[in-house]
Symmetry: C2
Subunit: 199 residues, 2 copies
DNA sequence: GCTAGTATTGAACTAATGTTTACATTTGTC
DNA sequence: GACAAATGTAAACATTAGTTCAATACTAGC
């Protein structure tokens, strides 16, 4: 997009202001707020330019509605998944988990119901997951053989690989230090779909 | 936060509606829009509840301004960094890169000027970075010994580990398949600070 | 210099929006 | 059942905000 060439200085000023507001997540401004921001004494000049900007395709507005302007071409807002500090037993949808923060997740996961966990131990280093990593977990109660899952064993949430063979179900660590677990009762909280690491 | 206990049904309806709008990135609604959404025939009932919600500390509003309500306690908007498809030579701040998308990045990087690259080759598998990963890169023109950097060699952007010994500078792959490079001209575009992988 | 298109300004107008008031209805409590 | 508090409704009011209009300056091209 080669904006600068097509926009007059005052149009660019207005456009940049709108973009800034949008990226900060604030409400779109009123015409008079824009006027104040760009140093125009009245709303009419801004109004004129807004029409121009809309004609050129940089804005979308609906007439007769307050603050109803939208900059075209900005990335949509990122969804945030809760970082749960401690996963509780019980309903997987319960809002009663300990939410210690929020983590933005990419569009791939748009439709999925996800939460984020900080990895504590070193039991999955063999799968490329280290302590301190954040894993994105899709909530589901079942998983296929070989998938990385977050499972609840007793009161503890653990990150393991699921192994199904015959009627048996096992949770396998990816670190030889740990031995496999074959729990009597297994509640799967979700499947690991993403991984974020700070370097 | 134990909302349900403290909010009447209609208050919760309004609160949820406001939260939904906010999380979708839309503009806050007008009192009458809320009324329509929750099935109230007029604006005054909603007005009454908005005052209650504000008293209870769930909202912040500034009177006499349209659409000026803000749900308290929502996570701030996530910053998005551009995914650059091809890094060009020249100014590191140039807006003329090929932006192929946007990627949300966590708060840690709030202040930094970042961009995101999709990893192409397998030259860094030894450092736990695979093809298909997305790396978050902080723009800077210098880096210390041992840091992972994105550097420009000729026209090509590559992901390597920087080695400085004496007066010499080398770019080291983390895969024995590749040999080190000691370029005559080295332009560092940034330092790798984060990594995202889809599993 | 002249003209056409563009940009700015100030004032006024109208629709939209927040607010208030008074009254009806529900809900909970004794 | 009676009362009080909370809630829902309806209509009017006041302010804000989007829009229009006429007048004026500014610029580019001839």
């Amino acid at each position: 997009m080669r904006l600068k060439k097509e926009l007059s200085p005052s149009q660019k000023k207005i456009y940049d202001y709108l973009k800034e507001r949008a990226q900060q997540g604030k409400t779109p401004p009123t015409v008079r707020e824009i006027a104040a921001a760009v140093g125009s004494p009245g709303p009419s000049s801004v109004q004129y330019q807004l029409v121009s900007l809309e004609k050129k395709g940089f804005l979308k507005r609906s007439p007769l509605h307050s603050r109803s302007m939208e900059v075209i071409g900005l990335p949509p807002i990122a969804r945030q998944a809760p970082i749960v500090g401690r996963v509780r037993a019980g309903l997987p949808n319960a809002a009663e988990e300990e939410i210690v923060g929020h983590f933005p997740i990419p569009d791939f996961f748009k439709e999925k119901d996800c939460f984020v966990l900080e990895v504590k131990g070193d039991s999955m280093t063999g799968a490329g997951i280290q302590a301190g990593d954040y894993v994105v977990v899709e909530r589901r109660s079942e998983a296929a053989n070989g998938e990385l899952v977050v499972a609840l064993i007793g009161e503890e949430a653990t990150l393991k690989r699921l192994r199904k063979s015959g009627g048996k179900v096992a949770l396998e660590a990816a670190n030889p230090k740990y031995t496999d677990i074959e729990p009597e009762q297994l509640q799967i909280l979700g499947k690991v779909v993403g991984l974020f690491r700070t370097l």
